[in-house]
Amino acid sequence: MKRIGVGVLQVACLCIFTYAINGITSWLNWSIPGSILGLVILFLLLKFKIISLKWIETGGNWLVAELLLFFIPAAVGILQYKQLIIGNGLKILAVLIISSSIVMVCTGLVAEKLTSRKEKIETHAHDTVLKSHN
């Protein structure tokens, strides 16, 4: 019960933090979205130990775990563009699917080649550090 309370409070803090940054960026007329700037600032605050991970961890992990939920209303929004989808839907899908696939294959292969070479040079097994704790 206490954990839930703490989590909700932390989510509220993250919301306030995010929307405060949003307010500042729009007030300064910056074209950087508040969420991206907020991510970078929060990371720096954690890195330089200005705030402790414990203060936001429970709520923050909830938000990250349910990330997909927050995309759903936008996905339902496709409904507003029925005309466009009936007219050009297949062409649009073709562009998106083909270019996404090419980008994924290229970047994935390049990343695998580059990092496996580096791993061979440095004999340390980095991936033990990188392996999931999930």
Partner: protein, 224 residues
């Protein structure tokens, strides 16, 4: 009343889809595939206008930004191991961002899509707010871009794991890079399913891809 119903319906269908996905593991049960389809059908069958749905569901969308900010947590936890691969990750993002723009503009031309539609498609692979920004700069329609971005997220979630298996990509870095560059936040969520490390890499790639695309966006009009 209908508003609250839409809100609670979205949340319950999401958790139901998540439960089914956990049990069956098939990608078409993924919450971002199954839930929107069910919700769209509900709206059509009960003749509920999207504006009414949006009234209720905007409270969910409002959490997207704080959730993006919260990606700082996996980033912070994995920073020491990410630092070693920063150059490699940066290089991949640069290639990926340029490729995404070149290929999508080439294909739009090939399929004879009109100018404003092409300009709305080209920023398809980056995170919504920046994609909308770029779309308006290059003469696209930002709200339509938002739809393409979310579609791309779904495509990346479905095809990304297939590509990872087919091309025998084993490192967390390759998985994170591929999903983060091509499918922004949705890809990051998928990468987190593989491992927290892959998720952290995906979130870095999402940020870098948005920045790089934004910087090179003034060059895009030369391609359309």
């Amino acid at each position: 009343m209908l508003m609250i119903l839409c809100l609670s319906l979205t949340i319950s269908i999401y958790f139901a889809a998540k439960w089914v996905y956990k049990k069956r593991g098939k990608v078409y049960y993924s919450p971002l595939v199954l839930a929107p389809i069910v919700l769209i059908l509900v709206l059509i069958i009960f003749n509920i206008p999207y504006s009414t749905y949006e009234e209720g569901s905007k409270w969910i969308t409002a959490l997207l930004q704080p959730a993006t900010v919260a990606l700082a947590i996996p980033l912070y936890k994995y920073y020491p191991s990410l630092k070693k691969f920063f150059k490699e990750i940066g290089f991949c993002v640069l290639i990926g961002s340029i490729l995404a723009i070149l290929i999508s503009s080439f294909l739009s031309k090939l399929l004879k899509l009109d100018h404003s539609l092409s300009a709305s498609i080209i920023p398809y692979s980056i995170t919504t707010p920046i994609a909308m920004n770029i779309a308006s700069i290059i003469g696209g329609v930002p709200t339509i871009t938002a739809v393409f971005v979310i579609l791309t997220g779904i495509i990346g979630m479905v095809l990304g794991p297939v590509i990872i298996i087919q091309f025998h990509l084993k490192s967390d870095i390759a998985k994170g890079v591929l999903l983060g560059i091509s499918a922004h936040g949705a890809g990051t969520a998928k990468a987190l399913e593989f491992s927290t490390g892959a998720g952290a890499i995906a979130s870095i790639c999402m940020i870098l891809a948005a920045m790089i695309s934004f910087i090179i966006s003034p060059l895009i009009p030369f391609f359309i």
